[in-house]
């Protein structure tokens, strides 16, 4: 098992190296330079040259890449041009917000999606099955930003049940050492804080979780259908096992394998969805951070963020591969 993980990690090295080259080339192909956005319209050519020199942008690209890689390997992603803070520090500030949102969205998707897909499969081709399939297709067809705007309009603006923006009420002073507000509020033990944080989290999480919900429900349904026709399920039923036990121990457990894969594959989608969801709800996560970086041509942030996103996706995929072993002992790692 450990050997398998080590080998998978080794194969990641060339991919990450390729990624760093791609991202570096990519970011430097962007039109305009950070100096432009820093100086605005009044900058002279000399000012621009000075800033580019101070940022090392006047050196040949391979040299820039070399320095970039040297810093990267020592865990330094550079300094944001617009805020002058280290990219890693900003990442530490914004990433927890996105993780919190993403995890909440996935919980929403799994808690509703798995039972829904399972029940649909048990009623294969029945009314419930067809309805849930159709509804999940509608869910997939909804652009995140449109759904976000609609829900925000109905529940926050019209009904006023939930807050429209942010992670916590602006008037609330609230300590957040880990930047995971839910955890911070739990640790602080103030129920009013926790309630406020959860209220802010609810709507964005539902918006971000809707497409994963639809996908999880569909995959659970398909996987359950496959397992239901397996010989061992028939055997279990034939020997008179309680149908509920068959469902739980034989069907659901085996059907969850593809579901785990799909949950892993959602990471990229969640990051993408986060960009749009965070824009709508002014959620201070990596999504809005990334968009600002595009606006200000913040090379360091763009490089760091893109590399980081890709890294997260790769790591989650690895975790999914490893988790197969726990869920399905038939899979052996070599």
């Amino acid at each position: 098992m450990l050997k398998f993980i080590a080998r998978r990690l080794l194969t990641l090295i060339p991919v990450l190296l390729g990624l760093s080259i791609l991202v570096f080339a990519f970011v430097h192909a962007l039109p305009g330079s950070p100096a432009d956005s820093l100086l605005g319209e009044r900058g002279t050519d000399e000012d621009q040259a000075k800033i580019e020199e101070s940022l090392g942008l006047d050196r040949p690209l391979p040299i820039q890449y070399f320095f970039y890689m040297r810093n990267l390997l020592s865990g330094d992603l550079g300094t944001s041009v617009s805020t002058r803070r280290p990219v890693t520090e900003e990442l530490g500030r914004y990433f927890p917000a996105t993780v919190e949102l993403g995890v909440a969205a996935m919980i929403f998707a799994i808690v509703l999606g798995v039972p829904l897909g399972f029940v649909a499969a048990k009623r294969y081709l029945g009314l419930l099955d067809n309805t849930s399939l159709f509804i999940s297709l509608i869910g997939i067809s909804f652009p995140v930003f449109f759904l976000g705007l609609l829900l925000k309009y109905v529940f926050a603006v019209k009904l006023g049940w939930l807050p429209t923006i942010g992670r916590v009420d602006v008037t609330r002073t609230f300590d957040h050492p880990t930047n995971f507000y839910v955890i911070d509020a739990l640790v602080a033990g103030n129920p009013a804080d926790l309630l406020d944080v959860l209220k802010h989290l609810l709507l964005p999480a539902i918006v971000l979780g809707t497409i994963p919900l639809a996908i999880v429900a569909r995959i659970t349904r398909a996987a359950t259908l496959d397992v239901l026709s397996e010989d061992y399920v028939r055997t279990a039923r034939a020997k008179g096992l309680d149908p509920r036990v068959v469902d739980r121990r034989h069907v659901l457990k085996n059907a969850l394998l593809p579901v785990v894969t799909v949950i892993g594959l959602q990471t990229g989608l969640l990051l993408t969805g986060a960009v749009l969801t965070e824009t709508i709800f002014a959620w201070p996560g990596v999504g809005s951070w990334y968009l600002n970086a595009i606006r200000f041509r913040d090379y360091a942030v763009l490089q760091g963020a893109t590399l980081f996103f890709a890294f997260v996706v790769l790591m989650v995929n690895l975790a999914v591969d490893v988790s197969y072993g726990f869920l399905n002992p038939r899979i052996r790692y070599r």
Partner: protein, 298 residues
């Protein structure tokens, strides 16, 4: 019907049940797929006959300028926008754009992916390794973020945006095609064709590709849906087509997002146009997948 006739009919049925007729038959009986085809047909008809269907020029001022434009009524089916233009006409013309966006982006991704995937799968060896490693490097970057980056580099013209969204599809198509070709390369019929001396390129074009194309068609339909959503999403974050006067649904929606409270129609109608067109494509894609391979019911 005599016994002989019945036997003959049975025989014909057996002969006729090839992969494609079989698939078509399943597709025909899939209600969702039929609804999808109907939806997309409606959009295609609207797109083709836009000048006939739209009562006004989409950029013509036909009502008063207003910060909070009037909703449906007064001869304007979907209401007006802040420039006093007819929203219905804009949505109708927008159908052209969305279909164009779907077709061109998928065309770009499909062509590049097809070339790379079939070359990699057919040649194998280091060419295969090289192409696939490049795809591996592209895959972990979330496609929408890749598209935002590409649009920033290429520029915000409609063409550039379609190319950018298309490029994000390349790794998916390349991998898909390579996988199926690898499966087909050693199949008996390919070995047979090879043994009678069919030259390499012809073998690929006439024998292997047609037999590997089914999953690609499914993926292409679903990718069209994603392309429409992605372009609208780019509009939403301010990276949409900068060409003035383009009635792109995502652009109409995002330009009016802040006006949601006063003029909900300006968000609602373009939004639902996107949902319906995407739903149509997803239904078709699903139906195709089920009819080509009934075992894949996801």
């Amino acid at each position: 019907m005599s016994v002989a006739q019945a036997g003959a009919a049975e025989l014909r049925l057996e002969q006729g049940a090839s992969l494609w007729t079989d698939a078509f038959d399943r597709f025909r009986h899939n209600l969702g797929a039929i609804v999808g085809v109907a939806l997309i047909l409606v959009f295609v008809i609207i797109a083709i006959f836009a000048p006939v269907i739209a009562p006004f020029d989409p950029n013509e001022q036909v009502g008063p300028l207003a910060t909070n434009p009037a909703g449906p009524g007064n001869g304007h089916l979907f209401g007006l926008d802040e420039q006093g233009a007819d929203l219905f006409s804009q949505i109708v013309y927008g159908a052209r754009l969305s279909l164009l966006v779907g077709l061109v982006s998928v065309g770009v991704g499909l062509t590049l992916g097809l070339v790379l995937g079939s070359v990699a799968g057919y040649l194998g060896g280091w060419v295969d390794s090289f192409i696939m490693r490049v795809m591996d490097v592209m895959l972990p970057i979330p496609s929408f973020l890749l598209a935002t980056g590409l649009v920033t580099i290429l520029g915000r013209g409609l063409t550039q945006i379609m190319i950018a969204v298309g490029i994000t599809n390349v790794p998916i198509f390349a991998r898909l095609l390579r996988g199926t070709i690898l499966g087909q390369r050693e199949a008996d019929y390919v070995l047979a064709a090879r043994s009678v001396g069919v030259p390499g390129p012809r073998l690929l074009m006439a024998h292997i590709l047609p037999n590997s194309i089914a999953p690609v068609i499914v993926q292409a339909t679903l990718a069209m849906a994603t392309a429409i959503i992605d372009v609208a999403g780019l509009s939403f974050i301010g990276l949409g087509p900068s060409d003035p006067g383009l009635p792109e649904w995502g652009k109409i929606l995002s330009e009016n997002a802040s006006r949601l409270e006063q003029s909900v129609h300006l968000v609602f109608f373009p939004g639902f146009a996107i949902v319906l067109s995407v739903l149509g494509l997803n239904l078709i894609g699903d139906g195709l997948r089920e009819s080509i391979d009934p075992k894949l019911r996801a």
